[in-house]
């Protein structure tokens, strides 16, 4: 079965070609289009499960050593030999399953959501293309093919964000996403160049086998450059700015691309390259710090937003920060674990938001919502599941993955108490704003206009069924990775272990120095036989609960408090509400200065200097001509004299 792994990405590509060419050309019926689009995805999902099981049948050590499935040579030039080839190992197949599975459900959901859109066929073509690219990314067996997927998903993101291109905002957002991603890709490219320059190959297996030949500085540079790529794709500081704007796209797209799959590819990439990352402690620290910083920073912005999708967007950025924190402290499988659970619950949250919008005729401002839970019960309950999951309430998937990250942040040799602290605070903030969102949207009074109110309705089954499935996954998804301390076996880690290695040294029993520093910081009071993991778990749950309670207090019990608080801390509020003015700063620093430089180069330099000097030479010739033509009097005898003079001169030479 493993031989047929290429079918997994190929099927969506077929769907794309069918819908994109035949579907659009012949204006096929929506049913045909949606059937084709969904069934290729379903098949793709089915094949990834088959491959997964065939992989499972192998002994654990053999799982990571399955030979790559090479289709054909791609770019071959001198020492460079790249192929179109797929790598089958636990990591890639987990990713493939997550991607194709979530995509499949979101495709089904989209059939309902996009039903009345005139661009229905185009939408599904793009969506299929996206899945193809994403699967290429996760299944690639070399950096270059991964980069194909990497840029390919960026393209689809661009196309889908700008799906409603008639309005300026989506078009702008799409362009912004693409360009910002390109900045990241720039880093990725350079990282690849560096790898190739030093190792002479881009094949994952060879690179990782030869990685020990690299000197520490090079490794650090490579990993940092690749991380630049990851910050772009996965919306980390400083390149996160495109993701909130990306919410201009259709909601299922936000769900699929900008929450569940594409944005996590940075995490996947680092996990895939964990061999070289492990060799570069500095880079690891950088990744962890950026991850933690993004987690808390984005969470802070999420708190004050009113646009339901933007809250989710910032939440996504923040959660991605967690994943980076995880891989940064060396807990690669924890990162992937969170990636998976996040795909379930964040995908679900977005779909839920879509369902809300569907009910409210496209309303996005949560101030105009409220009290929806009675009218849209399925949406509400599934949304609540996801919220609980993301808040890290025990029993839900998010709890397991998030807690593991926090624990690793604290205990891993790459970890630090400070990282844990940031993570924990961010978790509290997450719980707060997610519940704020849920409360304001679904509870309380309905603040929608009368016109809208009349039409509030639950979404059709084609949309709610995916919601339910994802809700189930959000709840149970975590049980594949129950930590040892809670008596689980952590199958997830075991499965990934052949690729990513076991848990880092020291996991489960934090090193003494860390505990000491924790003690010094006053976070813990006694050192003893207490299981630190349990304590930290409890602490983070408590923090989450505190967050939830504040949300409950502020938005259900005393709804007027937030306004007063906003009045009180006006400056702070304005700054945070305006997202720290980062967009404006970027605009001023990069966009408008680039435009100014461009204009300057064009008007002043190109026209004024370069072209002018060219024309100056021509002008000089003209001037000479103007002077010299005075000789041309038009009198024949003048010319005859000239001829004679010439003859005289020539004869001088002849008789010399």
């Amino acid at each position: 079965m493993i031989e047929y792994v290429w079918l997994i990405p190929l099927l969506p590509a077929v769907g794309f070609l069918f819908n994109g060419l035949i579907g659009r050309w012949y204006n096929l019926d929506k049913r045909v289009v949606s059937w084709v689009a969904c069934s290729v995805l379903g098949l793709s999902f089915f094949f990834s499960i088959l491959v997964f099981f065939s992989l499972l049948k192998l002994p654990p050590d053999a799982r990571a050593a399955v030979p790559d499935k090479v289709l054909f040579d791609w770019i071959v030039s001198g020492g460079l030999k790249t192929v179109i080839g797929y790598k089958i190992d636990p990591l890639s197949i987990v990713m493939a399953m997550v991607v194709s599975g979530v995509s499949f459900f979101i495709h089904i959901y989209s059939v309902g959501y996009m039903h009345d859109d005139p661009g229905f066929t185009r939408y599904f073509a793009y969506l299929n293309l996206f899945v193809f690219m994403m699967l290429t990314l996760v299944l690639a067996n070399n950096f270059l093919l991964m980069f194909v997927g990497w840029e390919g998903v960026g393209l689809c993101s661009y196309l889908l964000i700008g799906f409603w291109f008639e309005r300026d905002a989506p078009a702008n957002a799409g362009k912004k996403a693409f360009v910002v991603n390109r900045v990241g890709d720039f880093g990725f490219l350079l990282g690849m160049f560096l790898i190739f320059a030093h190792l002479g190959t881009l094949e994952f297996n060879e690179v990782f086998a030869k990685a020990h030949l690299l000197d520490p500085v090079t490794v650090t540079m490579i990993t940092l450059l690749l991380f630049v790529g990851a910050t772009g794709k996965s919306a980390q500081i400083p390149l996160y700015v495109w993701l909130p704007d990306a919410m201009e796209g259709p909601t299922p797209v936000s769900s699929l691309i900008h929450a569940a799959t594409m944005v996590t590819s940075g995490v996947y990439m680092i996990a895939r390259c964990h061999v070289i990352y492990s060799m570069a402690p500095v880079s690891m620290a950088v990744v962890a710090i950026f991850g933690a910083a993004t987690a808390i920073y984005a969470a802070s912005m999420g708190i004050l937003q009113f646009d339901i999708k933007r809250v989710l967007a910032y939440s996504t950025i923040s959660q991605l920060g967690y994943m980076f924190l995880a891989v940064g402290v060396g807990a690669f499988s924890a990162g992937i674990f969170h990636l998976m659970t996040h795909a379930f619950f964040k995908g679900l949250l977005f779909l839920g938001a879509g369902s809300v919008m569907h009910a409210l005729s496209g309303e996005l401002d949560m101030r105009k919502m409220g009290g929806l839970w009675k009218k849209t019960p399925i949406t509400f309950w599934t949304f609540l599941m996801a919220t609980l999951a993301i808040a890290g309430i025990p029993g839900f998937s998010g709890f397991f993955s998030k807690d593991e990250i926090l624990w690793q942040a604290f205990s891993s040799p790459h970890g630090h108490l400070f990282l844990w602290l940031v993570g924990a605070v961010a978790a509290g903030m997450t719980a707060f704003y997610m519940f704020r969102l849920t409360f304001v949207t679904f509870l309380g009074q309905c603040r929608a206009s009368e016109e809208v109110k009349k039409h509030i309705h639950e979404s059709p089954p084609i949309m709610t069924v995916p919601l339910i499935i994802l809700a189930v996954l959000s709840v149970i998804g975590g049980y594949v990775g129950i930590p040892h301390v809670l008596g689980g076996r952590n199958y997830f880690h075991e499965f990934l272990a052949p690729v990513l290695g076991g848990l880092p040294e020291g996991a489960g029993h934090a090193s003494l120095s860390l505990i000491k520093s924790a003690y010094a910081a006053g976070a813990v009071e006694e050192i003893g036989s207490v299981n630190w993991e349990i304590i930290l778990m409890v602490v983070s749950v408590v923090i989450a609960l505190i967050g939830i309670s504040i949300a409950l207090y502020l938005y259900i019990l005393k709804p007027d408090v937030p306004k007063r608080l906003a009045q009180r801390f006006r400056t702070l509020y304005t700054i945070v509400f305006n997202k720290y003015y980062v967009d404006e700063i970027y605009e001023a620093c990069f966009v408008s200065s680039a435009k100014k430089i461009g204009t300057f180069f064009w008007r002043e330099f190109d026209d004024g200097v370069v072209d002018r000097s060219v024309n100056l030479v021509a002008g000089l010739m003209l001037w000479w001509g103007r002077v010299l033509r005075k000789i041309q009097t038009g009198y024949v005898q003048g010319y005859a004299l000239g001829i004679l003079l010439g003859a005289v001169v020539v004869i001088i030479f002849l008789i010399k």
Binding site: S77, G78, L155, G162, L190, K595
Partner: protein, 526 residues
């Protein structure tokens, strides 16, 4: 004589000329007939050029399909043609694009159809001849011959400032090539003095190794001629003018083929003839190329005229070509050659596309468009694919070339590589911004509401390009294997001779004994 047993190179070089003569006998009133005849000739030409690709032996590095006949014996001028892996693909690009250009001129050309078609076929002869010529005089003739029809195409069928643009194009190029002619003649005498054989045979002239100072002067002369044609950074200002004024097909050929002759000139003439100077010139050329990449992109971003935007993007793209070529490693040079093809295909397509909306709206100002995606979905799809190819999205042809160039450059000199890679970001910025302003948003101008989508002929024009974009992007090996050995041989040869030149005593060569730098002037004078 060659693999095919008949003079295929002469055939494909002069078939268009024969076609042009044939056109003389078609009455000028029968415009449809004229167009069809031209189209068929160019199609036949394309078909005839295919065996070149098929029968080209990729196991050989040297020239193939060689034809060598003495021409002017007294001066050592031969009618010497041959193809290697470097020129092979460019010839195919020429025949390929010419067909599309003829198709695209179907409605665009309204006056003097006959003369237009004749000019075009004549131009094709010039371009192919320049690619296959292996004798410097023969090359020079074709090189100059190309200018005339192009001059006419811009000057007669161009836009409002066509005369200015045509003359600027002509004189600027001419100024460079005259210097090259001087250098050619000087080279001829230097070689003759050194070996006693007076010849313009390129492959024989490769063998001469000149003192380094002489090489500098000669390289500068050649490089200037080609740099103007490419065009490299400070010599680029004729390009936007020429493009803006030229008719669509003229722009396509100008961008697609004529500019490539500049880069091809470097790789075929300037570098192998003067390897030591070329190696010493790496910093200069690379920095100019980098400036071209970034500068071209930034200026392109701010353009309000579509054609000018594409023209400046050409400056940027050709900066990549030059950068890769002067990396002097396999990846860089192969990428560079590949990028020449890519640029021909995708920028050619961009000009076709701009031409298509120009035909409908008679304006090229970006501000006059907006929201075209709604009324012209097929057009939007084509435009999108071509734009993506132009910004080197993986999976399209542009990526393969740009990636290899940057990889090669990075290997040779990481700093150049880093700066070059910024072009990737800027390319996305200007291309997508332009695309957004033209295709997305609301329809602001009511004239745009009634625009017709592409007709059958236009689709037929663009589909081959789209196929090529993906074919070259996904199966590049198909093309690479043809040029692989030639490129490796080129690099080996150039490097060996460079090392011989720098290690030789007194910087002199092994063939030109007793000719030192100081005597050069005298020799040239004689």
């Amino acid at each position: 004589m060659n693999q095919l047993g008949f003079p295929i190179l002469t055939t494909i070089t002069f078939l268009p000329l024969a076609g042009a003569i044939l056109l003389l006998f078609v009455p000028r009133e029968r415009e449809e007939l004229l167009k069809w005849v031209t189209l068929i000739i160019s199609l036949v030409e394309f078909v005839i050029s295919l065996p070149l690709f098929i029968y080209f032996d990729e196991g050989k590095a040297g020239m193939q399909f060689v034809e060598k006949v003495p021409w002017i014996k007294e001066w050592g001028v031969t009618y010497y043609m041959g193809v290697d892996g470097i020129s092979l693909l460019l010839i195919l690009l020429t025949t390929f694009l010419t067909v599309l250009c003829i198709l695209s001129s179907w409605r665009a050309v309204e006056k003097s159809v006959k003369e237009y078609m004749i000019s075009f076929l004549f131009l094709e002869t010039g371009m192919i001849g320049a690619f296959v010529a292996l004798d410097l005089i023969l090359f020079y003739i074709f090189w100059e011959v190309m200018l005339i029809p192009m001059y006419l195409i811009i000057g007669v069928w161009g836009g409002p400032r066509r005369i200015y643009a045509a003359i600027k194009f002509f004189l600027y190029t001419m100024a460079g090539s005259v210097l090259m002619l001087v250098a050619i003649i000087a080279l001829y005498f230097l070689h003759g003095k050194a070996t006693g054989v007076y010849t313009f045979d390129l492959l024989k002239l490769y063998q001469v190794s000149l003192p380094i100072k002489t090489q500098y002067i000669m390289f500068a002369a050649f490089a200037l001629a080609f740099a103007i044609k490419v065009p490299m950074f400070p010599f680029h200002t004729w390009l936007p003018d020429a493009h803006v004024e030229a008719p669509t097909a003229g722009s396509v050929i100008l961008a697609g083929i004529l500019l490539k002759l500049g880069t091809y000139g470097f790789i075929r003439f300037a570098i192998p003839l003067f390897p030591a100077a070329a190696f010493k010139a790496i910093p200069v050329i690379s920095v100019l190329a980098l400036i071209g990449i970034i500068y071209g992109a930034l200026v392109s971003m701010m353009q309000d005229d579509l054609k000018k935007l594409v023209a400046f993007s050409s400056v940027s793209h050709l900066g990549f070509v030059m950068l890769g070529m002067f990396a002097f490693n396999v990846q860089g040079v192969q990428g560079s050659i590949y990028q020449m093809l890519n640029h021909g295909v995708s920028t050619g397509a961009l000009f076709l596309i701009v031409g298509m909306i120009y035909e409908r709206r008679h304006t090229r100002l970006i501000a006059d468009f907006g929201g075209l995606s709604r009324v012209m979905p097929i057009f939007a799809t084509f435009f999108m694919i071509v734009a993506l190819s132009s910004i080197a999205l993986p999976g399209t042809n542009g990526f393969v070339g740009e990636f290899l160039i940057l990889l090669g450059t990075f290997k040779a000199n990481p700093v150049y590589g880093v700066f070059g890679a910024t072009g990737v970001i800027l390319a996305a910025a200007y291309m997508l911004w332009m695309f957004q302003r033209v295709m997305f948003g609301d329809i602001k101008h009511p004239e745009n509401r009634g625009l017709k989508d592409l007709n059958f002929r236009e689709i037929v024009t663009l589909v081959p390009i789209i196929i090529m974009i993906f074919w070259m992007g996904i199966f590049p090996k198909f093309f690479f294997k043809k040029m692989d050995l030639s490129v490796q041989h080129f690099l080996y040869d150039v490097k060996a001779r460079y090392e011989a030149a720098v290690t030789a005593p007194e910087g002199g060569g092994f063939l030109v004994k007793g000719v030192k730098g100081s005597k050069v002037k005298l020799l040239i004078k004689e």
